[in-house]
């Protein structure tokens, strides 16, 4: 029983990570109609910046390092929105946007490799340790992941519902032309969205530092599974993204009890295909 609960918590924690990934690209998708294929590289960049520069090189305490990472990534998001996302969203077909973001991902990876080197490293002692509740042992990083993710999800919802900027962003996602006619500056909105998305990516990157080593391939699987959970929950739908992510995380962790764990990654792909075949609109979304 304890094992089951422990597994469930691990699954939910991983699920929340996938859900965050899904949220992070969904808000860009809603704002620009582009799918950010470089999002896993954003995560990678965030993790390297946090672990490599702010903690290891500059020796900042984790809290300040987290803040610095968030600010830097926000700026990075804004800049890449103006330089890349805005021009791409104006091109005639979506295809070039896909290609453009894929290439952007390649650029980030190369930059990361050149700046921090190709060798993997890890951050000792960061979010390590575990809590014991009754007879259930829960790792500290998993608890933090669940807490932080819930916090982000809730505050994003509040942001979109109650602040003026958030409302304007929802307008842009509904109808770009109408929003710009109503006096919403679409470019700045897109930039803000990409900035927020980059911040979420950075947080994901920081959260997975204790789980994986910091290396160039650390985030590619997370990125892919985030996509899968978006499709499972309903593309472009925030609550669906969260549900899909958690479902994927739990299925994966219990699935790996049945099949050898090296094939664990295949499960998300199989789930993705099943959903595309049976219910391409996802769990929570009606067909338009």
């Amino acid at each position: 029983m304890q094992v089951l609960i422990q597994l469930l918590i691990t699954g939910i924690a991983m699920g929340f990570i996938y859900a965050l990934v899904a949220i992070e690209y969904t808000i860009i998708w809603n704002a620009t109609g582009l799918l950010n294929f470089s999002h896993d590289k954003f995560i990678l960049f965030g993790a390297y910046m946090f672990a490599g520069t702010y903690v290891l090189s500059l020796g900042l305490p984790p809290v300040i390092a987290v803040l610095c990472t968030i600010i830097t990534m926000f700026l990075f998001g804004i800049v890449s929105a103006f330089v890349i996302f805005n021009p791409l969203s104006r091109l005639s077909t979506n295809l070039f946007a896909v290609i453009g973001t894929v290439i952007l991902g390649r650029i980030i990876t190369e930059a990361v490799r050149l700046i921090w080197g190709p060798l993997p490293f890890s951050l000792d002692g960061f979010l390590k340790g575990s809590y014991k509740i009754g007879s259930v042992v829960v790792s500290r990083s998993h608890v933090i992941i669940i807490l932080v993710c819930t916090l982000i999800t809730v505050s994003l919802q509040l942001f979109f519902k109650f602040t003026k900027t958030g409302k304007a962003m929802r307008c842009v996602s509904e109808n770009k032309t109408a929003a710009s006619l109503m006096g919403v500056n679409v470019s700045i909105n897109i930039a803000l969205t990409v900035g927020i998305s980059a911040v979420i990516c950075a947080i994901i990157g920081i959260l997975v530092v204790p789980i994986f080593n910091v290396e160039l391939q650390m985030s590619s699987m997370i990125g892919l599974k985030g996509f899968a959970s978006g499709v499972i929950g309903g593309f472009g739908h925030l609550p669906g993204a969260i549900l899909g992510g958690i479902l994927l995380g739990v299925v994966e962790i219990f699935g790996s009890m049945i099949i050898p764990s090296v094939y664990k990654d295949c499960l998300s792909f199989i789930l993705l295909i099943i959903f595309l075949l049976i219910k391409p609109s996802g769990l929570l979304r009606d067909r338009k």
């Binding site: 290439i103 050149l114 996509f227 090296v262 094939y263 595309l276």
Partner: protein, 313 residues
């Protein structure tokens, strides 16, 4: 008609150059590079069908290519079947992948193909690495036999080059025929305006799946050619970066046109060798150039020469 003659003349000149070039090259390394160019041309031509014409992103070239290569290599090494039959089996594998992966991903409109192909690629890599009994795991498959015609084995690089040149020319010709036929036009129509082609009584989903199947067949054939040429296969190189390289070739050369595809494949394969001196920065520089291409010259290099087809939004 005049335009066709001009195309024919240019094509013949290019074939002539391709045919006599090896006579002046004795360096084995350069010959290897040229064979690699031929294989890349085949892959990019294939990618052009789904990505260049119908506008659906395929990021699974690595997976499809290695499925082709492994199919060919495993059948050849385990059962000793003639490599030519293995090549055909690889093409059949392409059809299976094309329909099997295309059906769930392309039935509904959206960017799903990009997602499923990335996933497929990763799964293939995981399976190739871990199904040790079948694929030899990370060590891979060794001693893959070479092609032979009437008992003559193609072992020398020069011989392989000419053999593959013939195959590549056949495939280029086929691609040219398809791109400039009703098929190419309707693929392109799907990218330009799916609703309109739908209203003309065309089943978009079916057409997209057909285009993707063509892509897969071209890639698996290229995989098979590659396997029988290098003689060994291991899964390590076939990751997403591998797939992106071909997208880069497609964009740099020119989306949608056969000549552009060929130019892109040649350029992106050869230029790294010329730019050896920037070594570490090579991919960074090249990626930035590609990104600039996507933003400022989305129809590739060839659109510089082909001013008439200005396609602004």
């Amino acid at each position: 008609m005049k335009k066709q003659n001009k195309t024919l003349i240019i094509a013949l000149i290019c074939i002539g150059i391709a045919a006599i070039l090896p006579l002046f090259i004795s360096n084995n390394y350069h010959l290897n590079l040229m064979i690699q160019v031929l294989i890349n041309i085949i892959i990019v031509l294939g990618l052009n069908f789904i990505t260049g014409l119908t506008g659906q992103m395929n990021l699974g070239t690595a997976g499809i290519f290695s499925m082709g290569a492994y199919t060919s290599a495993l059948v050849a090494t385990k059962s000793g079947v003639n490599p030519w039959i293995c090549l055909i089996l690889a093409a059949v594998m392409g059809i299976i992948i094309g329909v099997g992966l295309g059906y769930p991903s392309l039935r509904v409109s959206g960017v799903y193909l990009a997602l499923t192909t990335i996933g497929f690629s990763e799964i293939v890599r995981v399976l190739m690495t871990n199904l040790t009994d079948l694929t030899g795991g990370a060590l891979g498959v060794n001693n893959i036999p070479v092609f032979s015609i009437f008992g003559h084995e193609f072992r020398e690089n020069k011989e392989i080059y000419y053999l593959y040149l013939v195959i590549a020319l056949l495939l280029i010709f086929n691609a040219y025929r398809i791109v400039n036929s009703k098929w190419g036009r309707s693929f392109l129509a799907i990218k330009d305006n799916p609703e309109a082609i739908n209203a003309s009584g065309v089943n978009i989903a079916k057409l997209r799946i057909m285009a993707f199947t063509l892509t897969a067949v071209y890639s698996t054939i290229a995989g098979s050619l590659y396997a029988h040429y290098v003689g060994f296969m291991n899964p390590s190189a076939y990751n997403i970066e591998f797939s992106i390289n071909y997208v880069v070739m497609l964009v740099i050369g020119g989306i949608g046109s056969v000549a552009g595809n060929i130019a892109g494949a040649i350029l992106v394969t050869i230029v790294p060798e010329l730019l050896r001196f920037i070594e570490n920065y090579y991919w960074l520089v090249f990626s930035i150039i590609t990104l600039l291409f996507v933003i400022f010259l989305p129809n590739g290099m060839l659109s510089l020469f082909n001013k008439k087809k200005s396609m602004k939004k």
